[in-house]
């Protein structure tokens, strides 16, 4: 240990520098601007409204962070940044980063207080209601739901590929948002018809996306509130990034509602950043659970073992966990035939 260095610890502790630099780049439109055309420093400074003092450091830091390339003084997006951070592309995931920048970065500044008190640290701490406001503003809601689509596209594709869809005819996605999962399933499996279930305000966004994909004949919207209403019936029910928002009794209630809405032989798929059973590998899942501490009154993330136990408590007969992409896994539960 005499020659151990604190480099890894300092890199982790100062990691907010790199993170915030990317978040500011998204906020400033760096990637959307460069997707239109690569540009040199002077052009980019003028387009983005950057002060000369640190424009070059900022852009070169983005090169070193491997989201920009620079060749002979001309900056361009890396292929991944161009695909996922250009606002003009449907694959844009920057909406999540915009929200992280404008909301979560600041709220996480109060993490220590949250850890001491167990209390949320977002707008609700001072009496306002981010999601209530969001759902009341159609334009902002559209942006938010689109961002969620970008995030769930990879998982949607993996669910469409890795689950035995040939054995089922109908599906229902709970908290469908823009409809990325329903659209992906219907596109890859022409024998399937499906429902997106979400709050009434989501309907126009969902229906527009489904129509644009030419799937309105097989994918429809069902409006409701999953705390107040029963869930519509389907052979397979999907809940993605839903359960972690809620406390244990609410989670169990939602699983029970899914069980009740399924026919015998039906299946439930829960997918999110499922924590590994040993709780020592999936850092993102564990940090997401701390994000639920910041954002909700009782939400938390959970392991595959936790989820399977709750599923069996709800009546399901057979359960398993399968990895999807990145930190996401799906927990599958079957209702006895």
């Amino acid at each position: 240990m005499s020659h151990a260095t604190p480099d890894d610890i300092l890199r982790l502790g100062m990691g907010f520098w790199a993170s915030k630099t990317l978040l500011s780049a998204v906020e400033l439109g760096v990637f959307t601007t460069l997707a239109q055309s690569p540009a040199d420093l002077a052009t980019l400074r003028a387009k983005l409204g950057l002060h000369e003092r640190s424009a070059r450091d900022f852009l070169d830091a983005l090169v070193a962070l491997k989201v920009l390339h620079r060749q002979e003084g001309v900056y361009r997006n890396t292929p991944e940044a161009d695909l996922f951070l250009d606002k003009a592309k449907p694959s844009y995931v920057g909406g999540l980063l915009e929200m992280a920048n404008s909301r979560l970065y600041g709220f996480w500044g109060s993490l220590t207080e949250a850890l001491r008190t167990g209390e949320l640290q977002n707008e609700a701490k001072h009496g306002s209601d981010f999601f209530g406001t969001l759902y009341a503003e159609p334009e902002r809601l559209r942006g938010f739901l689109k961002a969620m689509s970008g995030i769930s596209a990879g998982a949607a594709r993996a669910i469409a590929t890795n689950f035995p869809w040939a054995d089922y005819k109908t599906f229902m996605d709970v908290g469908a948002a823009q409809g990325m999962v329903p659209v992906t399933l219907a596109r890859l499996h022409p024998h399937l018809t499906g429902i997106g279930f979400d709050l009434p305000q989501v309907r126009p966004v969902f229906e527009a996306f489904v129509a644009q994909e030419g799937l309105s004949d097989r994918v429809r919207f069902h409006e409701g509130n999953f705390f107040e209403d029963d869930l519509p019936q389907a052979d397979v029910i999907i809940m993605g990034h839903i359960l972690h928002d809620w406390d244990l009794s609410q989670k169990k209630m939602l699983l029970r509602k899914a069980y009740d809405a399924l026919p015998n032989g039906g299946a439930l798929i829960v997918y999110e950043a499922i924590i590994d059973d040993e709780r020592r590998e999936n850092a993102f899942g564990l940090l997401m659970s701390l994000n639920m501490l910041i954002e909700t009154t009782g939400g938390f993330d959970f392991t595959g073992a936790d989820c399977q136990k709750w599923m069996r408590d709800a009546g399901f007969s057979s359960t398993r966990v399968e990895p999807l992409v990145g930190p996401d896994s799906m927990v599958i539960a079957l209702k006895e035939a």
Copy 2:
């Protein structure tokens, strides 16, 4: 690209979660507490004052981030965390992370504004003066200078090893802080005598550290302000993490003062997170330059090529760059014999 995933981009963008989790752990004393004795969840919760809601997620996230180990429910520090994050050890670097947690994390929230205006975003934005206040409070100053020692210990060892000290008899460290570089040089090279140069308030902290290391006969303190005073003479002058705080004309003035204070045949060593000449590899150096944007009115980091050019402009005849540890390099300049 059709199966590209946004995982790397999202991991970078959400990197402030992991970073802030470590910063809160340092603030809460997790590592100092566990250095005294490993502990299970209940014990640690009580000792640290953690709420039950997320204590386990927090500690398991630290396991997944590889700063804690957990075996049969008992948490302990990893060897690196024990060495560098236990406040009771002289190798503690947590002082920097404490400052990052209480100051920089929040100020970096205004990075976008800094990039647009070119103006600093720390306490000075609202008229207060962090360093002025710090230097007026002996206890806080002691903690800060000790933190700087932890950070520079690795570089100090590399400078002591990689430079031809046999060719020189005296050295002077500009902005010596607690004295880690002078102490390391004097300890490894018994033929050397040296000076630590810093503001008068630093004297008691410096002299106590040197005395504790038994080196008071060969290392002494010289008080001064490097903007107002000439530098004391020495065969080798060292400036670590000093130049980046200042604007270009101040940097050049400091290099000229070093040149003037050196005898013919003397050497200047500038060390910090020197940016690679291509400005595309050393992300930490580029981000440190953005930190100078946040913290100073005109400071910025620089490449080895930049520094060598300024050194030659100041009169030095021969210059070179050598890597030290992590993101740090040293730029060496010789004054013609």
